[in-house]
Symmetry: D2
Subunit: 312 residues, 4 copies
C-alpha cells in the first residue's frame, strides 16, 4: 500500500501516548488507532512534531511507528521523517517503509530562504529517502519560517515524481489552495492531494477552496471527518454549523506551547488515550487552563454530544 495522489478525507496527526512515568503506552496506541478507523479517518500520520517525535530515540520512534502501522490495518500510515540531515532522514524513511508505512512527510529546515534552496532541498531529500518513496511536503511557514510560493510547490511537484501530497498549513492559505488548484486546471501542474493542517482553524473554507481534507490533530478527529464529509457533499450550512460549534475549543487547542497539553487532556477526557502525559520538555496546563477547557467542553456538549465527558 503506497500513498498516492488520490488520497482524500482525514489523516489525523496522532499523538504518541505515554504513561505517566514516560514509558510508551502501547495499549493507547491501539485504542486510538481503532478509534480513528471507526470514525472514518482515511489514514493517519505519526511521528510529527505533535507526535513528540524528537523526544523518542531512534529505536523508540520505530517501535511507535510499527505499532500504529500494525494496528491501522488497511489505513495508510504516513511517518514524519524530518531530520537535521539526510542520513538520518534516509535511515528513518527506509525503516518506516520496511515496516509498512505508506509514505513519509518532510518539513523544510528553517535555514532555507530562496526558491532555489527550497527546490534543491526537496530534490536531495527525495534522493536520500529513495526516489520511489512517496512523500508529503509540509508547508508550515508559521513554524518553520520557510515560505513556499505556489510556484515553488509546483516546481517541487514537477521535479519529484514521488511527491504525492501537500500538507497545507500556510497562514493565510485559502488563496494558496485556489492557486494550486488553478495550476492543475491550466495544466501546469499534475494533480496532487492537498490535506490541511493548522489545527483545522480554516477547515470550513479550505474544503470549499478545493482541499481534499485535513491532516491535523484536533482532539475531535470525528468532527473533522464530519465537516469534510458535509462540505464535500454540498451540505455547506451544516458543515459550518458543526465547525463553528467546535471553533472556540479548536482555537484554544491551537495555542502554541500548550496546544499539545490541551489536545492530550481532551483526548484523555474522551477516553481515547489513558493519560495526557507528555515527555519533557512539555507545556503544562495550570488549574485555570483546565477549568477553561472543561467550560469549553461543557458548552460544546450542548451542540455536539460527543463532547459530553464524565464529570471530573
Amino acid at each position: 500500500m503506497r500513498l498516492d495522489v488520490t488520497e482524500r478525507g482525514v489523516f489525523p496527526i496522532a499523538p504518541t501516548p505515554f504513561h505517566p512515568d514516560g514509558g510508551i503506552d502501547l495499549d493507547s496506541i491501539d485504542r486510538l488507532t481503532d478509534f480513528y478507523g471507526q470514525v472514518g479517518a482515511t489514514g493517519l500520520t505519526v511521528l510529527g512534531v505533535m507526535g513528540e517525535a524528537p523526544k523518542l530515540d531512534h529505536a523508540e520512534a520505530l517501535d511507535v511507528a510499527k505499532r500504529f502501522i500494525a494496528r491501522a490495518g488497511r489505513l495508510p500510515v504516513i511517518v514524519g521523517v524530518s531530520a537535521p540531515g539526510f542520513a538520518a532522514m534516509g535511515s528513518l524513511a527506509r525503516s518506516a517503509m520496511d515496516a509498512g508505512a505508506a509514505g513519509v512527510m518532510i518539513a523544510p529546515p528553517n535555514t532555507l530562504r530562496t526558491d532555489d534552496q527550497i527546490a534543491a532541498y526537496y530534490r536531495q531529500a527525495s534522493e536520500a529517502i529513495g526516489a520511489d518513496v512517496p512523500f508529503v511536503i509540509q508547508d508550515y511557514p508559521l513554524n518553520f519560517t520557510v515560505v513556499m510560493t505556489p510556484a515553488v510547490i509546483r516546481r517541487i511537484v514537477s521535479e519529484n515524481p514521488a511527491c504525492v501530497m501537500l500538507k497545507h498549513e500556510d497562514w493565510p492559505g485559502l488563496e494558496k489552495i485556489s492557486a494550486l488548484r488553478g495550476f492543475e486546471a491550466d495544466g501546469s501542474m499534475r494533480p496532487i492531494a492537498i490535506l490541511c493542517g493548522n489545527g483545522g482553524l480554516f477547515l470550513d473554507f479550505e474544503c470549499e477552496r478545493g482541499a481534499d481534507g485535513a491532516m491535523t490533530g484536533y482532539a475531535f478527529p470525528d468532527m473533522l471527518v464530519d465537516v469534510v464529509r458535509l462540505s464535500t457533499s454540498g451540505e455547506r450550512d451544516a458543515a459550518h454549523d458543526l465547525f463553528d460549534a467546535h471553533l472556540p475549543l479548536l482555537r484554544y487547542e491551537q495555542q502554541p506551547g500548550i496546544g499539545l497539553a490541551v489536545r492530550k487532556y481532551v483526548m484523555a477526557r474522551r477516553g481515547l488515550i489513558a493519560s495526557d502525559a507528555q515527555r519533557k520538555p512539555a507545556g503544562a496546563m495550570g488549574g485555570k487552563a483546565i477549568a477553561e477547557v472543561e467550560y469549553l467542553l461543557a458548552r460544546l456538549a450542548r451542540h455536539d454530544p460527543r463532547a459530553a465527558v464524565p464529570a471530573l
Copy 2:
C-alpha cells in the same frame, strides 16, 4: 489628559481610512471616531501597524493623529511611535503629545534577544520620548519575534515610571496575564493596565484572567465592548455566547497578510468608513474571499443584528 494605569475597557486600533485614490479620508476619520465613542470605547489607538502607519509620511502621520485626537474629545488617544531609531521615535512622540495624545505605544525592534537588551531598549526609549510621557509596551512576539517573560515586563515597569499599560498579545498569553496579576498581588510589581490584542482571539478568557479590556481592531469594536462589559459584570455565559457568534469572522479577519483587507471591507460594509482602500503594499481580497466574508456576515447576523449589512 494623560494615560494612566487606571485605563479600562476597549481602545480600538483605528485603521487609517483612505480614499480610493490613496488620499486620506478625513470625513471617515470623524465618522469612525464618533462611532467608537457611541458604542462605548474608552479610548482609541492610532498609527499602529494596522493603521498603515509606515505608509504615511511624517506630515501625514501627524495630520491623521491630530484629526483623530481633535474628534475624540474626552476619549484618550494613544499614538504608535515605534520607529527604527530613537530620534524618529522621540520626534514623533513629542509631536503627538503636543497635539493632545494621551500617551504613546512602543514595540520592540526584532533584533532584541536577551532580557538585558529588552530592558535596556525600553529605558532608552523612555528617555528618548521624555520621562514624563506615558507609554504602552506592545508585547507581540508572533509579529516582532521578541519574547518578553513576565519577569522582563516587571523589570520594564519597575525601571520606567512612565510605563502605564501593557498591550498584551503574546500567544499563548493567558498564563502571562495570570503571572503579571500575580506579581501585583504579591507586591513585586506595581499595578498597570493590561489591554489585549491578537485580534481579540482569546478575549473571552483574557478578561476572566484579569485583563482590563481590549486593544485591537476587529471590525466589530461594539462586540468587544459588550464582551468586556458582560465579562466584567459576571455574565460569563452571555459574554461567551456573543463572543462565540463572532469567532468565525474574527478568526477570518485575523489572518496575516489579508487581515486588514478583511477588516476594512467589513467596516466599509457597515458604513463606518467610506472605502476599504489601502495604500500599497496591500493584501487584497479576491472574489472568493469576498464571498466568504459575506457568508460569514450573513451567518453572524442571525445572532447579532449589527452584522446585517445591506445586500451588495
Copy 3:
C-alpha cells in the same frame, strides 16, 4: 549629476560625525569629505546604517545629507533611504534628490522571504521614490536575513530601469560576483556597477572577480582606493601586500556591535573627524579594546606610514 552604471572606484560609507554632546559636527563633515576627495574616492554614501541614520530625525538627516552633498562638489553622493514604509522612503528620496544627491540606496526589509516578494518590493520601492531616481540594491543577508540569488538580482535589474548599482555584501560572495558578470557576458542581464561592502574583508579577491570597487567604511578609505587601483592595473601582488597589511585591523573593525566605535576611534586618531562620539544606542570600546586597536595601528604603521598616528 545622476548615478549610472559606469561608476567605478571607492564610495566610502561616511560616518556621521558628532560632537561629544551629541550635536552634529558640521566641520568634521567638511573635513572628512575633503579627505575622501583628496585620496581618490570617486563618490560617497551617507545615511547608511553605519552613518547612524536611525539616530537622526528627519530634519537632521536632511541637514547631514545636504552638508555632505554641498562639500562633495563633483563627487556623486548616494543617500541611504531604507525605511519601514514606502511613504517615508519616498519622502526622503525626493528630499535627497532635490538637495543634489546622485542616487539612493535601498535595503530590503527583513520580512522578505521568497524571490517574488523581493522582486515585488523593489518594483514598489522604485515606484515610491520615482521611476527616474537611480537606486542601488543593498544585498547584505548577514544583516538583513534576506537572501537574493543572482537570478533575483537579475530580475530586479530587468524590471527596474533605475537600478544602476549593486552594493554587494553577501557572504560568501565571490561566486555571486562571477555569476552576475557571467549574466552580463551571456547577455541575460544589462551591465550594472558592482561595489563591494562587508567592511572590505574580501576586497582583494572581489576586484579580481570583476567588482568595480568598494563601498564600505573602513577607517582607511585611502587603502581601499589603492587596492582597487593596484588590482585594476594588474599589480596583483602589490594589491594583496597592502591589503594583507591592513587585514588584522580591518577584521577587528568589522566586528558587529563595536565596529563603528572602532572605526570612529581610528578616524579620530587619524584626525579625519574631531571626536569618536556616537549617539545612543552605541557600542563602546573599553580600555582593553583601545589598547588592542593601538597595538594594531602600531603594527600596521610598519607597513603603511598612514597608520602612524601621534602618541596618545
Copy 4:
C-alpha cells in the same frame, strides 16, 4: 579520562574524511588524529557541524567517533551531541561516553529566546545526557541565533556541575571573555575552560583576554597551537606575526557555505586527509576559488614553510 575545567591548548574540530564515493575514510581518520597529536593538540572535537555530523546516520556517527577515540590515545575527545530532541541527544551521549569520549558538546536550538529558556534548556540537556557527563556549551549566535549574555552563561555554569567548558564563538566576543574571567575573579562564577571558535578569526586577542586556547577547525591546527603557545608564553609580537601571516587564508576559509570545502581542500593538499570529498549537501569550490586558495597558500609559504605544498 573525563573532560574537566583544567583543559588548555587546542582542540581541533576534526572534519570527517570521506572517500570520493561517499564512504568514510578510516585511514584518513587515523592519519589526521596522529597529526593532531604530533603538532601538539591537547584534545580534539568530533561530530560538530563542520564534521558533517548531520550527514552520518546513527551507526556511522558512532563508528566515526569510536575510530577517532581509539586512535587519539591519551588525547581527550569531545563528541558533538546537539540534536533536535533530548532522546536522541541522550542516546548519542551515552554511546559516545561508553566508547571512551571525554565529554560532549551541546549547542542551543535556534528557537530559544529568553534567558530563562536558555537556562532551562541546559538543565534539561544535562539531565538527558546524565548529570555526571561533562559537557561544553557552544555559544555561537551567528549560526544559532541564540544570544547568551555572560550572566546567562554564569547561570548555566552554576546550575550544572557537569558544565566544564565554553566553546566561545560569539561575535564580537572579546569583551565576553573579559566579563567571564571577571566573574571568576570576583568569585561569582567557578572557573571553567574557555576555548575559542569562530574559525580562529580573533584568536590572537582571545588568548590575551584570558581564553585557554582554541577549538576550531582551521586547516593549519599547527599554527593555532603555535599561536596559543607563543601568546601564553608572553611572546606577543611573535604570536601576532604568525597569526597575521595566516589571516588572509584563515579569513578565506571562514566563509559560510564554502568554508568546509576550502578547509578540506587545504587539508588534502597538505596530505592530512586523502580526499576533500564531502557528502551532500556540500558547498563546492569552482576553478576560480581553487586558484585563489593556491595563491593564498603560495603567499603564506613565504612566511610559514608548512604552507609549501607540492605543485598541482
